[in-house]
Every structure is written in structure tokens, then in C-alpha cells.
């Protein structure tokens, strides 16, 4: 059990900087997700924490123990790999006990530990099989079992769910969360799937091009994104982003997009903005509802309707801009129809055109 803290961690390969000045604190027992598109440095960060890569500069602490210079096996971590990396020539039992045997743990303890971990993950019946004799889901559980058996201070998971099919992925996701809660072990999880990150984490670290964009609990990252990247990466379907001009007038923020004018309460801005400027206007499809009152109204033409069951996504044409909105699926909308949509003012985000930071 340990808290993990990365301070000013930097890793470069030659002239390519993979991670730049990464600062992250995770409390003991917390579940942290490193989230970002491929190539953002999240896996490299995980490898650095595991000790598989040496840092170019910076420090990593587990509790108050500086582990920056330690070998992977001295760090008391266990890792689950995307391709599971099960030793193909060893049985499940041998796979799970390999690490313990390498650490010189007594035979009896190894057996107890393996039995306990196998029980925990429902692997007892599979212990004498080889990886080739297992299905994808079973292999995934063995990989988790191999990590659990060490009872490490920190679990490291590198996209462990991405090789599973959709249904199994969601079930396994739940299992991993429950397992981590039960064991109370700190976990650092890497994924590019924002939904996975939202569901699993206590903390999400959104990364882009080697830099940390935002660190916070899932809902705060979702509701209060610091910049355009975080706002559009988190949430599905992605946030609508439109170019607009805003100015303060009559104690209201007047927002013009093409032929549409919106009057929003001025507290939409986090900081007082200079009058009349061009911005990027962001709103999530779930906060734009067809034929709902809302705090402000927009008018558009329906171009596509996608019912997904509990609700329907509606593609609108608003003054030449495309806008994705939601609607009651029972509403019989037809393509070409003109509709009014209601916005929730508190869920509108404005970003600087250049820096893309939240205003």
C-alpha cells in the first residue's frame, strides 16, 4: 500500500520528448487513470513508474520512499499488459507463481498466495492450463491474477481491457473496479477510452503530447474542463465546438453564431473577459435538447436522427453550423424539419481562439 507521487518527471528518447514535466499525486488506495490519445506519453509514464524506463529527470516516490533509481522488481509493483504477456510455455499456476519464486518466497507461501489469488479471480479450475488453452477473457483474468498474487504496493495496468470484445470489456471493467476497492491497493491505469476512465477512476489525468492537461476526479474533469482538448476528449458524443463572438451588454453575455444570437448569464465566463472578442463556443450534445425550454434557445434544421434507445441524437444545421443535440426518442422528428433547441446556460464553455484555454 502506498501513495504515488511523480514530480517533474521528464522522459525523452533522443530528441523526442515523450513526457515533459509531469506532476501527479495519488493517495494510497486511489485509482488513477492516465487518459489520452495514442502517442500522448501515457504508456511511457506507466513504464517509468514500473521502472522499465529510466527517467531523463525528475523523481518518483512511493509513500516517502524514493524509487527513482530502483529496479522494477524492487519497487513492489505489479503490471497487467495490454497483450497480457502471459508466459506461453507455463501453466496458469506457473505464470502466477513465477514472480514470487523469482523473489525467493518460500514454496508454501507461494502455494497459499496463488490459491488465494486464484480463488479471488475464479481461476482455480484453470490453474493447470496453458495460456493457449484459455479464451481471451480468461487470459485477461490470469494477467490480473498474476498481478494480484504479488499483493504489491501499486497495480499498474496498461490498457488491460482493449483486447476484449465490447460486452466482456464492460463486465471486466466492473470486476477490476470491485477488485481494486476490495484489496484497497493503489492502481494506475492507462487507457485511451474516456468512458473507461470515467467509470473506473478516483482521479483522471488527461495527457496530450507528453504534457498533463488536467488532473482531477472524473466529474470535475467532465464538468469543468480546463481547455478545449480536455473538453472535446471527454464525453461521448464529443462536445459541439462553434466559432462565435461574445460581448458583455446589459448585464448579459451576448453570443453571436452566424445568424443566431444567444443571451447567456455572464457567469458562464470564469474570468471577466474584455468586451467583444471572438471565441470558441462549446456545448455538449446532452445539454442541447430539442423542444426543451432551456436557458436560451437556438433554431435549426434536422439533418439526421440517431435513436440509441433511451434518447436520440439529432444532427442539426444551425445557421450553417453543424450542431449535435439530443431529443426524446419518441419525438417523431423528420429530416428537414425546423426545430427549436434549449441550452443549459451553466453547461456552456467558452475557449480562447488561440490558446484554446477556458475563458
Amino acid at each position: 500500500m502506498a501513495s504515488v507521487s511523480l514530480s517533474r518527471v521528464r522522459k525523452s528518447f533522443g530528441s523526442v520528448v515523450a513526457i515533459d514535466s509531469l506532476d501527479i499525486e495519488v493517495k494510497d488506495g486511489q485509482f488513477l487513470t492516465l487518459l489520452g490519445p495514442s502517442g500522448c506519453g501515457k504508456s511511457t509514464a506507466l513504464s517509468c513508474i514500473a521502472g522499465l524506463e529510466t527517467l531523463s529527470s525528475g523523481r518518483i516516490l512511493f509513500g516517502d520512499r524514493d524509487i527513482t533509481a530502483l529496479e522494477p522488481h524492487e519497487r513492489d509493483v505489479a503490471m497487467v499488459f495490454q497483450d497480457y504477456a502471459l508466459y506461453p510455455h507455463m501453466s496458469v499456476r506457473q505464470n502466477m507463481s513465477f514472480g514470487l519464486r523469482q523473489q525467493g518466497v518460500a514454496r508454501g507461501t507461494v502455494e497459499q498466495q496463488v490459491a488465494a489469488a486464484a480463488e479471488l479471480l475464479g481461476l482455480t479450475a484453470l490453474l493447470d492450463r496453458r495460456p493457449v488453452e484459455l479464451s481471451g477473457g480468461q487470459r485477461q483474468r490470469v494477467a490480473v491474477g498474476r498481478a494480484v498474487v504479488r499483493n504489491p504496493a501499486v497495480f499498474l495496468m496498461d490498457e488491460p481491457l482493449s483486447n476484449l470484445d465490447a460486452g466482456l470489456r464492460i463486465r471486466t471493467r466492473t470486476e477490476i473496479k470491485r477488485l481494486q476497492r476490495d484489496l484497497g491497493t493503489t492502481c494506475i491505469f492507462v487507457t485511451h477510452d474516456q468512458e473507461e476512465a470515467m467509470v473506473l477512476s478516483d482521479l483522471i489525468a488527461v495527457m496530450r503530447a507528453g504534457k498533463l492537461q488536467q488532473l482531477g476526479p472524473p466529474m470535475s474533469v467532465f464538468r469543468d474542463p480546463t481547455n478545449l482538448f480536455v473538453a472535446s476528449f471527454i464525453g461521448s458524443p464529443a462536445m459541439n465546438i462553434l466559432e462565435a463572438t461574445v460581448e458583455l451588454a446589459d448585464n448579459a453575455l451576448v453570443c453571436r453564431m452566424a445568424d443566431q444570437v444567444l443571451r447567456l448569464p455572464p457567469n458562464v465566463l470564469r474570468h471577466p473577459a474584455p468586451p467583444a472578442r471572438r471565441v470558441l463556443f462549446g456545448v455538449r450534445p446532452t445539454d442541447v435538447v430539442v423542444q426543451a425550454p432551456g436557458d436560451a434557445q437556438l433554431f435549426g434544421q434536422v439533418s439526421l436522427v440517431e435513436p440509441v434507445g433511451p434518447l436520440a441524437y439529432v444532427d442539426l444545421e444551425v445557421g450553417g453550423f453543424p450542431l449535435k443535440a439530443t431529443a426524446d426518442p419518441d419525438l417523431a422528428l423528420s429530416v428537414g424539419e425546423r426545430v427549436a433547441v434549449g441550452l443549459t446556460a451553466g453547461r456552456v464553455y467558452l475557449f480562447d481562439l488561440e490558446s484554446e484555454n477556458r475563458l
Binding site: S47, H73, D83, Q102, T109, E119, E133, L134, D182
Partner: protein, 632 residues
């Protein structure tokens, strides 16, 4: 619209329309199988028959003698001694080659600047023809004029020149060393292909599990490349048992009978004493030994076939009650800190130094003898024969090259030197046809085995093909010699082309099959949906995509055929059809001192094409090895 329909109907009725689809694979493998049957199957049967007969010298008639040849030979001390020597030679060269090749492969498997260059350098000894290798090392070991003694004397490690080939033990081990030098790159190439297929994450997982480099090598690397190791063991063992060229060039079985191995004994009986029956019997025993060893390795490395049984994922996953509460408690495992002698930083520096030293040793080992050969080819003949020997020549000359390249120009060339240009031409012509035939037939058959190898006929014929690879080529020479003599094909390039197919076709089929197996099957289906027939899909889509595999096959065919010696030695008689290895060996047989310079020049010319090919295309070789062998 109707035109399109008509055209596609016409297409469907193309060549493949004439034969039912299910016969297509058989049709594709038929040419390769026919050739293999004619050049390997029949000769094997024929030599079996010969081993049961004897030639009556007076009547020139073959007389059936049953097992008498075997009974005469098997219990004899001479036979047992040769058997022992062969076994010793095989053990030493297989183990030595494995160690050297493994070290090279491990170094080459790491990522560093100049890896491609080092990989090319490592291949040089293997690309050189064994005859040239033998001549080179013969000179290096030469007691009076050799550079080895020169170096050892200069370093004051020895007081007087050692006559390496004077003592049986020394001579035998010298040949073994040269065999290792020549063969280690092949081992390295195969192992490297295996190492490159080890997933990175396996090693990363093992590092987190606390396995050190050595433990990771034993627990992760070795099990993963087991198939490759098996292949290496079989190939190098067979190569060791069949080693002939080096003995012919370096020791000729002597001194006394100290280096008379099995293959030499068979050769001597058949072609020096002209006792074909006994010779065939000896070589047949050799064949059987090879097959037994191959089976033995198979059993050793794969004690039981893996039970491949994949259970379906139960839809509910693990039962619920495993998760309600953590009923089981996990003990806390203390992490073990190893006592390290040096700090991590020092350790890294030391490792780097050791690693670069290793690279340097590999470069010297692979390159120095080759460079020495080049130096000697520029040294005047008179200076080569100087005692005490010197490492650096006093002057260089182009006369050696002139005399072998332009024998009709100014200045005199010896009879042997005059033969060099034409023998290079012979080698080129033979290698060209062998490469064309084997790539074409191998690709067709390999494709059929890869895509429809499930039927009983296909499976058993593939096995038969592989078993023929285990037969020592020496066994085939006798029947070839006799058959070609009666067909009046002796001393023709055609004879060599036919004979070389027996060496190469099984291997080229195997490589191509591996390559095609790695190709996505939907590629061909897509082509067929787009309106290709199966056959035109092969030509338009499959073959272009398989170009790297074709390249690898072509390179192998070229190297083997260009460097081959013993078939050429026995099946040719005059410069009309002699290839370059035979011509170089001819220099050695004549032993004229003024011809040493031209001999080395001819050797350089002989090794240059294969070395260049290996250097330029080494990337294809590794990928060819990988695809061709791992899927065994």
C-alpha cells in the same frame, strides 16, 4: 452491363475453369514434387539398391550381394573410428556454433546505431563458399607462411612455428573451428529471427517479476525460440555430419586417417577406390543417422504435443460469490533487494563497455579473415611464401587479378588461372537457372501448402518433402554420377542445375510456405471478389505482396548454388562446365608456388558475389528465416 457479365463469365472459365478448384493445390505442388521425386527420391532408392550390390571389376557387371557391404563395413575398426570422429566433430561444431551464433544473435537483437552494418558483417563468413573458406584458413594455419604463426610469434606466445596440420588432433580441431566460423552466421540468423519474434512485454513482465537477465534468458527467451533452436540443431548437425568441402580442401582425411570422417570415408571408397557398393552403404548409414538424430531432437525438445484445447468463455464470467467480499486474504510479500556490487550507474557503464567490447570481438572474428584474404590477393606470389611469415606485405600488386581476369593480356597466366573467367561464367549460368527454377516451383508449391495444406495428400507430401531435407546430399552423388554418365550428361551445366535442385527445392518450398502463411487470407478473397480467378489473384496480388519471401528464396538458391563444391567436383571433368569452387580447388591440387597469388585473387572473385548479395539483402534473409521457419 451485359458486357461486364459476359466478361466475368469468360474470366471464370479461364485456365482454372478447366480443372475443378479442389485440384488446383495438387496441380501447384505437382511440379515441385515431381522434381523432388526425380532428383531425390529415385536416387535414394537407386543408391539403396547399389548398397546391396557390388561391381565386378572384370565383367563390369553389378552383382547382388545382399547386406554384405554393410556387414563388411559396419564392424570394421576403420568405420567405428570414422563414426567416432564424425560424432566428435558434430558435437563440437554444433555446440560451438550454437554458442557463437547465440552470442551474435543476442547482440544483434538489441537496438543500436550500426546494427544493420554489424548484421551484414556477421554474415560474411557464411556467404563465402566453403572451398574459399578452406583455402583461406589453410593459409592462416600454414606452418611456414601462415599469419596465425606470425601473430603468435610476434606476441611471443610460441617460440617456433606450430605445424597445425602436422598433428591429427590439432588438424581436426582446426577444421572444427573453421566449420564453426563458417556456420555460426546461419545459426545467428535463425536465432535472430526467433529472438525478434519474442514480444517485448514478456521480458518487461519478467523484469517486474524480478527475473535477472540470465533468468529471463532461460525462462522466457529459450522456451519461446524452442522451434528455432530445434531447426538450428537439426540443420547444423546435418551440416556437420555432411561436412566435406573443408576436409577436402584442408586435410583430405589426413594426416594418416586423423580427420577421416564418415563423409570423407564414403567419398574415398566410392570415388578414390571405386568401390561404389561399399561407398553407397557408408553413405546410406549416414542418411539413417541423420534421420534418427532429427527424430531424436524432436523428441528431446517436444516431449509431448501441446494439448491445444480452447474452452469457450462462459457467458457469466466468474461466479458472483467470488466478488461479494474479498473472502480470501493475500499475504504481504516483502520485496527482495539484491545486494549489488556496483551502483546502478556504474553497472550501466560497465555493461556498456562490455557490450561494445563484445561487438568489437564479433567484428574482428567475422571480418579479419576475410580482410586477410583480400590482402593476400594483392600480395605478389613470391612474398606469400616467405619465412618467417609477416602480417603486412611489402608491396601490393594487381598482377594476380590481371592473370585470372585477363589471361590473354600482357604477361603470362598459368593454365589454371586461364580457367577462372570461364568458370565464373559457368557458376553464374548455373546459379541463374537454379534460382529461377527453385523460386518458381518453390513459390507455387509453398503457396499451395500454405493455403490448402489440410488434405491428407498435401500433409503427407509436405512431410515427405521435409524428410528429404534431412538426407545428406553425399548419398545422392553416387546415383547422380551413374545416371548422368549413362545419359551422357556428365560434365554439363545441365547436370549441375538438376543436381542443385535436390539441395534447394525442399528448402525454397518451406520458406515460401512460411511466407504465404503469414499473409492475410482476405487479400486473396478480396481480389477474387474484385473479379480475379484464383490463378490470376495469385499472379496479380499474392506474388507481388510476397516479394520479400521470393527475394529470400532467391538469395538462398543463389548462395547455395554458387558456393556448392562436391557435386560440381564429381559431376564435372573439364573447364567446359567447372564452376569457380572447383577451379579454385584445382589451384590447390596443382600446388605451384607462382599460382598462390592468382589463387587468392580467384578466391576473392568467388566470394565477392555471394558476400555482396548477403550484405545488400540481409534484411530479406532475416524476414525470410522468420517466416520460413517459425511456423514449423
Amino acid at each position: 452491363m451485359s458486357e461486364i457479365v459476359a466478361r466475368s463469365a469468360w474470366r471464370r472459365r479461364g485456365i482454372t475453369g478447366l480443372v475443378p478448384q479442389r485440384w488446383l493445390p495438387v496441380l501447384l505442388v505437382l511440379p515441385a514434387l515431381t522434381v523432388v521425386f526425380l532428383v531425390i527420391g529415385l536416387p535414394l532408392v537407386y543408391s539403396l539398391k547399389m548398397s546391396l550390390e557390388r561391381l565386378n571389376v572384370l565383367t563390369q557387371r553389378w552383382v547382388f550381394v545382399g547386406l554384405q557391404n554393410y556387414l563388411d563395413i559396419l564392424p570394421s575398426g576403420e568405420f567405428l573410428a570414422a563414426f567416432g570422429r564424425t560424432a566428435y566433430f558434430a558435437v563440437v561444431t554444433v555446440l560451438g556454433g550454437l554458442i557463437v551464433g547465440m552470442v551474435m544473435a543476442l547482440v544483434l537483437n538489441t537496438r543500436f546505431a550500426g546494427r544493420g552494418l554489424l548484421r551484414s558483417v556477421v554474415l560474411i563468413p557464411w556467404a563465402m563458399s566453403p572451398v574459399a573458406v578452406g583455402i583461406l584458413w589453410n593459409w592462416i594455419f600454414n606452418g611456414d607462411y601462415g599469419p596465425l604463426n606470425a601473430v603468435l610469434l610476434d606476441l611471443h606466445l610460441i617460440r617456433q612455428p606450430v605445424h597445425w596440420f602436422g598433428s591429427g588432433t590439432l588438424a581436426f580441431n582446426a577444421v572444427a573451428l573453421v566449420q564453426i566460423w563458417n556456420q555460426a552466421p546461419l545459426t545467428c540468423l535463425l536465432l535472430l529471427a526467433g529472438l525478434q519474434s519474442v514480444p517485448d512485454n514478456l521480458h518487461r513482465a519478467a523484469r517486474i517479476d524480478g527475473a535477472r537477465a540470465v533468468q529471463r534468458f532461460i525462462h522466457i527467451t529459450v522456451p519461446w525460440i524452442k522451434v528455432m533452436l530445434l531447426l538450428v540443431l537439426i540443420l547444423t548437425t546435418i551440416n556437420a555430419i555432411m561436412a566435406f568441402d573443408l576436409f577436402w580442401v584442408m586435410t583430405r582425411g589426413g594426416p594418416g586417417s586423423a580427420t577421416t570422417v564418415f563423409s570423407w570415408m564414403g567419398y574415398a571408397y566410392a570415388f578414390q577406390f571405386f568401390q561404389f557398393g561399399q561407398g553407397a552403404a557408408i553413405l546410406y548409414v549416414l542418411t539413417i543417422v541423420c534421420l534418427i538424430l532429427a527424430a531424436g531432437y524432436l523428441l528431446l525438445l517436444f516431449p509431448k504435443a501441446a494439448r491445444a484445447r480452447t474452452d469457450e468463455e462462459s457467458p457469466a464470467g466468474p461466479t458472483r460469490d467470488h466478488h461479494g467480499v474479498a473472502r480470501v486474504t493475500l499475504g504481504v510479500i516483502p520485496t527482495k533487494h539484491r545486494q549489488a556490487l556496483f551502483s546502478p550507474r556504474t553497472r550501466r557503464v560497465l555493461a556498456a563497455i562490455g557490450w561494445w567490447l563484445l561487438c568489437a570481438v564479433i567484428v574482428v572474428w567475422s571480418l579479419a579473415p576475410f580482410i586477410w584474404l583480400v590482402i593476400m590477393s594483392f600480395t605478389p606470389s613470391a612474398q606469400l611464401l616467405r619465412s618467417p611469415p609477416a602480417l603486412v606485405p611489402h608491396s601490393i600488386t594487381f598482377e594476380n587479378y590481371r592473370s585470372v581476369l585477363f589471361p590473354s593480356g600482357i604477361g603470362a597466366s598459368s593454365v589454371q588461372a586461364k580457367r577462372v573467367p570461364y568458370s565464373i561464367w559457368n557458376s553464374a549460368v548455373v546459379a541463374f537457372w537454379v534460382t529461377i527454377i527453385n523460386v518458381a516451383l518453390g513459390a507455387l508449391a509453398g503457396y499451395a501448402y500454405a493455403t490448402s495444406g489440410r488434405g491428407r495428400f498435401m500433409r503427407s507430401s509436405l512431410w515427405a518433402l521435409m524428410i528429404t531435407r534431412m538426407t545428406p546430399s553425399l548419398t545422392l552423388i553416387l546415383p547422380f554420377f551413374i545416371v548422368f554418365r549413362s545419359l551422357d550428361l556428365l560434365d554439363t551445366r545441365t547436370a549441375l542445375v538438376i543436381a542443385y535442385c535436390s539441395l534447394i527445392l525442399p528448402l525454397s518450398t518451406w520458406i515460401m510456405r512460411g511466407y504465404f502463411e503469414g499473409m492475410p487470407p482476405n487479400l486473396e478473397r478480396a481480389a477474387m471478389v474484385d473479379g480475379c480467378t484464383r490463378l490470376s489473384a495469385i499472379f496479380k496480388i499474392v506474388l507481388p505482396v510476397a516479394r520479400p519471401g521470393l527475394m529470400a528464396t532467391a538469395i538462398f538458391s543463389f548462395l547455395v548454388s554458387w558456393n556448392e563444391f562436391i557435386f560440381a567436383l564429381i559431376l564435372t571433368e573439364t573447364p567446359k562446365s567447372q564452376t569457380i569452387p572447383v577451379t579454385i580447388a584445382g589451384f590447390l591440387a596443382q600446388l605451384r608456388f607462382y599460382d598462390y597469388g592468382p589463387m587468392f585473387a580467384a578466391s576473392v572473385l568467388a566470394v565477392l558475389p555471394p558476400v555482396l548479395v548477403a550484405l545488400l539483402f540481409q534484411r530479406y534473409l532475416v524476414s525470410g528465416m522468420l517466416s520460413g521457419s517459425l511456423k514449423g
